[in-house]
Symmetry: C2
Subunit: 132 residues, 2 copies
DNA sequence: TATTGACCCTATAGTAACTTCAGGGTGCAT
DNA sequence: ATGCACCCTGAAGTTACTATAGGGTCAATA
């Protein structure tokens, strides 16, 4: 498998794969005669794991930890469970933050009549309300 | 007003204010004899606008645009309204993305019995499901 | 008066997770 | 032999700041 094939299979950009290699997240694959990277199935599995974790919002640092833990088949999964649980809390906070500011924006958009800047409720919502 | 005062009033770090100045978002203020920045009320207003916009999730580029538009008191606010409306759509998408992955995480955390890595449902949820 | 401490200055580098760019090879088909 | 898709490396750019190094200013205090 060449890097472009792996990229397609995992929906990842070629540059990102090289970046993961440089970061030590994926082992350096062997090379063919033309110095092209040649990947095996294990690389595909590992990259898939990384991408799925990233899609779920884990940081690369967390992915690094998860990969290490995942390699230890007989160990307890307690630490994994903790990381996931904490991450859910984090996501919940993000969602409620976003919901709050969404509501504030909707409020001002609804109040605007499409008049001039001087009367725009959106601009008003951005102006000096915050000085504490 | 010195930079520290402005920082406190707007809940902004001093370094951030200098950064905004370098980025051209805030006009360079005059200096006192000791080369300290001296701010006027107009600076406070402008910085408040910027911070409020950032709090609402607009990018600095959008803030730049909003500032320009806001200066034109007699112009129509149509463009402002459009930017805000688009931003709401963006936030909505972010919220639903986060909700989706939150649900996926909760599902796998719920299914995990705290056993070994080999049987962990969370690890399972991260493994090769994605290869398309 | 000398010194302390809080505050200010500039310039540069670091952060996360990539993406882009410059400048070049490889491999296959026409 | 030449075009084209694909590959290579190394360095710099991206966003919105934050941190660090190395140094001035100023008002109060010992
Ligand atoms: Zn997290
Ligand atoms: Zn309006
Ligand atoms: Zn937006
Ligand atoms: Zn588990």
């Amino acid at each position: 498998m060449k890097i472009g094939d792996l990229a397609k299979l995992t929906d990842t950009r070629v540059e990102t794969i090289r970046y993961y290699e440089k970061e030590g997240l994926i082992p350096a694959p062997s090379r063919n005669s033309g110095n092209y990277r040649v990947y095996e199935d294990a690389h595909l599995k590992r990259l898939s794991f990384i991408r799925r974790s990233r899609d779920l919002g884990f940081t690369l640092e967390q992915v690094r930890t998860l990969l290490k833990l995942a390699d230890n088949r007989d160990a307890s999964c307690m630490e994994v469970d903790t990381i996931a649980a904490e991450h859910i809390v984090e996501i919940d906070r993000k969602i409620s933050d976003l919901t709050l500011l969404r509501d504030q924006l909707v409020l001002s958009v609804d109040r605007c009549q499409g008049d001039t800047i001087a009367d725009c409720k959106i601009i008003e919502a951005l102006a000096p309300a915050r000085m504490k």
